[in-house]
Chain length 358, copies 2
DNA sequence: TTGTAAGCGTTATCAG
DNA sequence: CTGATAACGCTTACAA
């Protein structure tokens, strides 16, 4: 009877070779699918040995020798944002389809974490990285690029770095949303966005908003909301809403909604913050009183009846991996940019026919 | 001028040794903090060489030699569930504090994925695994345990497997919630849960619900809701609600809420599904008409004014890593179980004073 | 068809 | 204090 050793070392290729009464090379060949060169008889012995020893090739050793470990880094700024999780799902699916193992790193909105993870990734010799940057300085990413490790950016670009990037077609999405609002009769739109100067996607959305508003000849302004300290922004919103209401001629109670003003949140987290505030201020039926639209189709959007622009998150993730894969396969081409279109999901909050009195 | 090689291989320890004009051993010593045995002079040369070559030790090679790579696997059943993301944050924080690198695997609710990832983890020779099992057969996990790789279960236990496990104190949480409902005047509670026979946490919650209801002498029943096909369950709920309403004596319109019946969702996803249905059926002010409570404090809970029991997710994650760490440090003790208490977050939906007419 | 031997980048052992 | 040298588990010429 064998005493249970405290750590019954996993079988190695050598063990298998011995068990099968052959050399390591043949085992290796078997593992790598070079079946044609193995006599059926040997093959069977190997098979048996592997099963018997429950052998699993050590990826680390493999990678060390081969020079590639099939690991790709996926750096995510904030998993708390459902957007990221959805992108991640696409990334995972694509990775598996192509035989990569995503090494998922979650910066949790901490810039140090981000740096630290990036270092770690190089330490593990990932073959490529997909980055949803928080605020990496270009140099950090540059390190990868210089080392010949392809980088694909998701959702945002990084100043001074030219690489493949995939994300939402922000101008298109914002235009889609804004046009919808105007068509529905809102001709004064408040665009609410987090501090945007340092984050490309926010910057682009804000600019697109102003452009679209101008093109449509509507009124519009931007409010900067910081999630950490939203009070000032919320006050500004209230003020705007209040002013609009005051200027509107008295109406029947049912029609008290400030009809011409709509709120447009630049992303899901902002939308939630604003919705919470509106609910607090206007009560449970806030949706009837103020129109809210948002980029990012949050899970609660349906519940709140909020109109949104849904991002093609899954595809974004898949596309990112595809770009990476192509580079890893040796593709030499200038940096590409893949901008996928958003989809308008119209709900009660902005639909003309939902509030009485037109 | 140096031509940019297509893949400027990363510097290895040998390169550094050459650059510093010394042997690999010294470099290794330097890397492992055995500074005391290095002459200040040599130390400086090494430092310089490392910086100059931007050297990063290869973790794979390290792991290969050392027999441990500081990798711990984290298998998550469903990242789409915010619960998982929160636990993950705790895990990450703790891992970094202890110098581990979490290898995050997302099964995306697919049982094959789960199996596949588990295999992969053993292939990468992770030192331990934290598992939020979807439905692993015990054998798979057994593989780890037998190989001397510690396993910590999160949120649910796996039949036939005895290991450390950490999660919510389900009986306590359910009792807390149920008692609250009864105290608020609801004496007929509908517990809504996904098919629970195969998932320990659901099973425990359901049992605890029945126990508590019995102990309190209230009425209560269980409805099984499948997220994939919720219609039957929702119909059952409607029926129950309808019956209660019919049996109640006619009241003023304002008091039409079926006062004595409350809905209790076993987790966040179920709560969302139910809320969506209620909204569809009762309109935007569904919260005024039917009481909904849930385990898991979803991000939209505040928005919907839904009472919840918040899970100590972050701590669950941290605790899991701690357990793992202790095992990795060689702790030999019987399997432990850490059940953390939930916290009641009372909101309008179940508060007596929020609906008119008491 | 099969096996031998030389590494991959580190660390550990053992002499200087 | 410092540095050869032999592994770690695997792949890959190169032989046989």
């Amino acid at each position: 009877m064998k005493l249970h050793a405290s750590a019954p070392r996993r079988a190695t290729i050598t063990d298998v070779a011995r068990e099968a009464g052959t050399g390591k090379t043949s085992i290796s060949r078997y593992l790598n699918g070079e079946l044609s060169v193995l006599s059926p008889e040997l093959r069977e012995r190997i098979e048996a040995a592997i099963v018997k020893l429950d052998y699993r090739p050590n990826q680390m050793a493999r990678g060390l020798k081969r020079g590639r470990n099939r690991l790709v880094g996926m750096l995510i700024a904030d998993l708390t944002n459902p957007y990221s999780v959805e992108v991640l799902q696409g990334v995972e699916a694509a990775c598996h389809a192509l035989g990569y193992m995503p090494l998922i790193c979650h910066a949790a909105n901490e810039i140090d974490m981000e740096r630290r993870y990036l270092q770690l990734l190089t330490t593990y010799r990932v073959e490529g990285v997909i980055v949803n940057a928080l605020g990496v300085k270009e140099e950090l990413l540059q390190t990868f690029a210089q080392g010949g490790v392809p980088v694909v950016l998701v959702d945002r670009s990084v100043e001074g770095l030219v690489t493949d990037m995939v994300g939402l077609d922000n101008p298109g999405a914002v235009a889609l949303a804004t046009r919808h609002l105007v068509e529905q009769g809102f001709d004064d739109v408040l665009f609410i966005v987090q501090p945007f100067t340092r984050v490309s996607s926010r910057r682009v959305r804000e600019a697109a908003f102003r452009d679209t508003i101008a093109a449509l000849g509507a009124r519009g302004s931007t409010v900067v909301l910081e999630l950490g300290d939203a009070a000032p922004a919320l006050a500004a919103i209230d003020a705007h809403l209040g002013a609009a209401q005051a200027s509107a001629p008295a109406m029947a109670r049912e029609e008290s909604r400030t009809k011409r003003v709509a709120l447009f949140a630049a992303n899901g987290p902002v939308a939630l913050r604003v919705a919470l505030h509106l609910k607090e201020r206007y009560g449970a039926d806030w949706q009837q009183r103020v129109a809210l639209m948002s980029i990012d189709d949050s899970e609660w959007a349906e519940l709140a009846g909020m109109t949104t622009v849904r991002q093609p998150t899954y595809d974004i993730g898949r596309r990112a991996v595809q770009f990476l894969h192509e580079r890893l396969e040796g593709a030499r081409m200038p940096a590409r940019e893949c901008l996928l279109p958003g989809e308008l999901v119209a709900r009660a909050s902005t639909r003309r026919d939902t509030y009485k009195g037109n």
